[in-house]
C-alpha cells in the first residue's frame, strides 16, 4: 500500500507542477515553461501507471470500484489524452492551463478518499466492466479536452487584441480551436455512446433488462443528449464562436457529475462502483 501511495503522491506532484508551469508559461508568455508543463504532465503518468499497476496486483482488479479508483482512472485518461494530443500538435500545449487543473482536482480528491481495495462483486465480475469503464474514461478525457480548448477560445475571444489573446497566441487560430473543440466533442460523444451501449448489453446480461431508468443510466443519457444538442446546434443550426464554446464548457461538469456525483446523490443499483456496496 505504501509504495502505491508514494507513487500516487509523486504523480499528483507532477500534475501540480505541470499546472503551475502552464499558468506561469501562459501568463508570462514563456514557451519553455509551457513545454516543461507538458513534460511534467507526461512524466506524472509514469508513477500513476505504476501505482495503479501495484494496486491492480494487490486488489486483483483494475481501477473500477470506489471513488479513489474511479477518479484515478479518469485522471489517467484525461492526462494521457491531453499529453498525446499536445505532443502530436504542440500548438495545443497551452490548453493545459485549463485541462491540468481538472486532473489535479480529480486526483487530489481521490487522494483524500478511502484507499481500501474493494472486492469485485458477482455483479461486476464481467469483461463488460473493462469495456464500459474504458469508454467512460475515454469519453470523459475527450470532453475535458473540448472543455480546455473551449476555455482558451472564450478567453481569447473576450480579449480580442488584449493581453490574454497575446498570451494564448501559440494556440491555433480561433476557428481551428473551435473546430478542434467540436471534434473532441464528437469523439467524446462516440465514446460515451459506446459506454452506454456496452452498459445496456451488460445490464441485460447481468439483470435481464437493458435499460431501467436508474438515476445513473438516466444521467448518462442526459449527458449524451446534451452533447447531441451541442452537435446539432453546431452542424445544423450553425452555432459558432463563443456561445458554442460556452456550451462545451458547461457540458463537461455535467459529465463529471454523471460519473462521480450521481452515485453519491441518488440511490442506484449502480451505486456500488463508488461505494463498493454492490454492483
Amino acid at each position: 500500500m505504501t509504495t502505491e501511495i508514494v507513487l500516487m503522491w509523486a504523480a499528483l506532484t507532477c500534475y501540480v507542477v505541470a499546472t503551475a508551469l502552464f499558468v506561469f508559461g501562459v501568463t508570462f508568455t514563456k514557451e519553455k515553461l509551457i513545454h516543461n508543463g507538458l513534460l511534467a504532465s507526461a512524466l506524472g503518468l509514469l508513477p500513476q501507471l505504476a501505482a495503479l499497476g501495484v494496486r491492480w496486483a494487490r486488489v486483483g482488479h483494475g481501477p473500477y470500484i470506489g471513488y479513489y479508483e474511479v477518479a484515478n482512472g479518469l485522471t489517467l485518461f484525461v492526462v494521457a489524452f491531453f499529453a498525446i494530443g499536445a505532443w502530436r500538435n504542440r500548438r495545443l500545449s497551452a490548453a493545459g492551463i485549463a485541462i491540468m487543473p481538472v486532473a489535479v482536482l480529480l486526483l487530489g480528491g481521490a487522494m483524500l478518499a478511502s484507499k481500501t481495495g474493494l472486492p469485485l462483486t458477482p455483479n461486476l465480475a464481467s469483461y463488460w466492466l473493462f469495456i464500459h469503464v474504458a469508454f467512460a474514461n475515454l469519453a470523459f478525457a475527450a470532453f475535458v479536452a473540448s472543455f480546455g480548448l473551449a476555455i482558451a477560445y472564450v478567453i481569447r475571444a473576450r480579449s480580442a487584441s488584449g493581453t490574454w489573446a497575446e498570451r494564448l497566441k501559440r494556440l491555433p487560430a480561433q476557428d481551428v480551436v473551435s473546430e478542434l473543440t467540436t471534434r473532441f466533442v464528437l469523439a467524446g460523444f462516440l465514446f460515451w455512446g459506446i459506454m452506454i451501449v456496452s452498459g445496456a448489453i451488460w445490464a441485460n446480461q447481468a439483470w435481464g433488462r437493458y435499460w431501467g431508468w436508474d438515476p445513473i443510466e438516466t444521467w448518462s443519457l442526459i449527458v449524451w443528449i446534451i452533447y447531441a444538442v451541442y452537435l446539432h446546434v453546431r452542424f445544423t443550426l450553425g452555432w459558432r464562436g463563443e456561445r458554442l464554446a460556452w456550451f462545451a464548457i458547461i457540458a463537461m461538469p455535467v459529465s463529471l457529475f454523471a460519473l462521480l456525483g450521481t452515485p453519491v446523490v441518488f440511490n442506484s443499483v449502480h451505486g456500488g462502483y463508488i461505494g463498493g456496496v454492490d454492483g
Binding site: 463488460w128 487560430a173 462516440l190 447481468a206 443528449i225 443550426l237
Partner: protein, 475 residues
C-alpha cells in the same frame, strides 16, 4: 392544399430547431425525473415526498413526473423525436446521395474539368513553373494535413464514397433502435417466478408472482417448463464467489431438458428468446397432510423470503390452505425459518427448523410450533400436518423478448454510423496549374465537409503565401 399543409408539417418536424428542442425536453424531463421519486402514490417514498413538497406536488402529479418515463407527455416527446429523427435520417440520406455523386465526379476529374469549374484561383509567382506550383501546392496541403495524389497534372484528395454515410447510418440506427424498443414493449414478457429446488413449473402466467407481459406476447405458443435442479449458497467459478446460485433447467413440452446450467449474475441461462437470471432466494418448506389412518392426502411447498425487517428474519410468501379429506374446515398454514444472527446481521441458520403457524378461516390462531423436518403436528380435525423438508427456492427473473437481437443490431448500426461520422473525412480537393492571360495560376476546387484538419481560409492563405501570388477567390 392538403399537400401544402403536409409539406409544412414535414418541414416543421424535420427542422433542426425542433429536433434540438425535443432533445432538450427529453433531457430536462429526465433530469427532473431523477429528483422526483418514481412510482404510484401507494409507494411510501412517493407519498413521503408528496407530503414534504405539498406546494409542487399537484404540478408534479399533473405532469406525471412520478411515473416520468411512462407519462403521456414524455411518450409524446419521444414519439415526436422519433419522427424528427426519421425525417432527419431521410434528409441526411439525400444529402449523402448527392455528395456521393459529387465524389464520384470528382474522382474522375481531369485537368480540363478542374480548369473549367473551380472555386479558387491563385495567381502564381512568374518565376515558378507549373511543376513547381503543383509541388508547392502538394507540400502546403500536406503540411495542413491533406495528403494529395497526383493524377497527370491534377492534385487529387477525394474521400471514398462510403465516407459520407456515417451520419445517415447513425440516424437510421437510432430510428431502428426506437422501433426495436417499441416492438419489444409489445412482445416482451418479464416476470419473477419462485421455484423450489426439485420443483418444475410451467412457463405460464399462473406460475409467476409478478408478471408484465406485452399485448403481443402469445402465451399460447409457449410450451416449456422451468425446473430448479440444485441450489448452492456459495457457488464458485473462475476463482470468484458468485453468491447464491441455482442450477436451472428449461424443459420442452415433452419434459426433455433443452438447456441446464448454474445461473448467477453475468451468467444467465439463454435459450432462444428466453433469458433466466437469478433474482433472490429463500427457503422452501414442504408440508404434507395425512388423515387419521396415516394416509397422505395433500402436499404443498411454502416459499419463504428472507427479510431484514422480520423478527426472525423470514416471511412466508402467501399461505398454504389445508382442508380435511372431505374438503371442508379450511385452515391457513404459514411457515417461516428462523435465521441466525451474527454481529447483528442475518445469517443462514446452522440448523434449519420451521416455525409453523396454523390459523382458522377467520384468522384466529390455532397452532404455532417450531418443527424439524420429519416432525408431525396434530390438527384440530384429527388430521396430521408433517414438515417433510426445508430446502431452498430461487426466485428467477424470466424474460422472453425476441426483439433483443434487433435491439443489439440497431445499437451496432448506430455506433458504426457514429464511428464513421467521427473518423471518416469528407473532402474534395482538386488542384492544377493553368496558363492564362495573367500568367500561371493555380485553380482548385475545395469541398471540406467533415473532419478536415484545416479550413478554407487557412488553405487559401497558406497557398497564397507558398505560391507568392495574389489571392483571388472566385466562389
Amino acid at each position: 392544399m392538403i399537400r401544402g399543409v403536409l409539406r409544412k408539417v414535414v418541414a416543421f418536424l424535420r427542422s433542426a430547431g425542433l429536433a434540438a428542442g425535443l432533445m432538450v425536453f427529453v433531457g430536462v424531463w429526465s433530469m427532473l425525473a431523477t429528483f422526483v421519486p418514481q412510482g404510484d402514490i401507494s409507494n411510501p417514498e412517493v407519498a413521503a415526498w408528496a407530503s414534504a413538497h405539498a406546494a409542487v406536488e399537484p404540478f408534479v402529479r399533473f405532469l406525471g413526473l412520478h411515473q416520468a418515463f411512462s407519462a403521456l407527455l414524455f411518450r409524446l416527446g419521444v414519439f415526436a423525436l422519433a419522427v424528427a429523427t426519421a425525417l432527419c435520417a431521410w434528409q441526411r440520406t439525400r444529402v449523402a446521395l448527392a455528395r456521393m455523386q459529387t465524389l464520384k465526379e470528382a474522382a474522375i476529374a481531369d485537368e480540363a474539368s478542374v480548369s473549367a469549374v473551380h472555386d479558387l484561383e491563385i495567381v502564381c509567382d512568374p518565376g515558378l513553373s507549373a511543376t513547381d506550383v503543383i509541388s508547392r501546392t502538394a507540400d502546403t496541403l500536406e503540411h495542413l494535413g491533406i495528403r494529395t495524389k497526383r493524377r497527370g497534372d491534377v492534385l487529387v484528395a477525394v474521400s471514398r464514397r462510403w465516407a459520407v454515410w456515417g451520419s445517415p447510418v447513425f440516424h437510421w440506427g437510432l430510428v431502428l433502435l426506437i422501433l426495436a424498443i417499441f416492438v419489444g414493449g409489445l412482445q416482451r414478457s418479464e416476470g419473477l417466478m419462485g421455484v423450489a429446488v426439485g420443483e418444475t413449473k410451467p412457463d405460464a402466467p399462473a406460475s409467476y408472482g409478478t408478471l408484465r407481459s406485452g399485448p403481443l406476447h402469445d402465451w399460447g405458443r409457449v410450451h416449456r417448463s422451468i425446473r430448479v435442479d440444485a441450489f448452492d449458497t456459495d457457488f464458485r467459478s473462475g476463482n470468484l464467489d458468485r453468491g447464491p446460485t441455482p442450477t436451472v433447467s428449461v424443459l420442452d413440452a415433452g419434459g426433455r431438458v433443452i438447456k441446464k446450467q448454474p445461473v448467477y449474475p453475468n451468467s444467465p441461462l439463454q435459450s432462444g428468446s428466453l433469458t433466466i437470471h437469478p433474482s433472490e432466494f429463500g427457503f422452501a418448506a414442504t408440508l404434507s397432510v395425512m388423515n387419521a389412518s396415516g394416509v397422505e392426502f395433500g402436499r404443498a411447498t411454502q416459499l419463504i423470503d428472507i427479510s431484514q425487517t422480520a423478527t426472525e428474519g423470514t416471511v412466508p410468501v402467501g399461505a398454504l390452505t389445508v382442508s380435511n379429506e372431505a374438503g371442508t374446515g379450511q385452515l391457513s398454514v404459514f411457515a417461516t425459518v428462523p435465521m441466525d444472527r451474527v454481529n447483528g446481521q442475518l445469517a443462514l441458520p446452522q440448523e434449519r427448523v420451521a416455525r409453523v403457524s396454523v390459523r382458522a378461516s377467520d384468522g384466529r390462531p390455532v397452532l404455532d410450533r417450531v418443527m424439524r423436518p420429519g416432525e408431525e403436528m396434530a390438527l384440530p380435525a384429527g388430521d396430521t400436518l408433517r414438515l417433510d423438508s426445508i430446502g431452498f427456492y430461487a426466485r428467477l427473473n424470466i424474460v422472453d423478448d425476441p426483439t433483443i437481437p434487433l435491439l443489439y443490431a440497431a445499437l451496432a448500426v448506430a455506433m458504426m454510423g457514429l464511428t464513421l461520422t467521427v473518423v471518416a473525412r469528407q473532402q474534395i480537393v482538386l488542384a492544377t496549374a493553368i496558363e492564362g492571360e495573367n500568367g500561371l495560376r493555380l485553380v482548385a476546387t475545395l469541398r471540406l465537409w467533415r473532419n478536415v484538419p484545416t479550413n478554407r481560409n487557412e488553405i487559401e492563405s497558406q497557398l497564397a503565401t507558398a505560391l507568392r501570388g495574389d489571392e483571388e477567390d472566385v466562389s
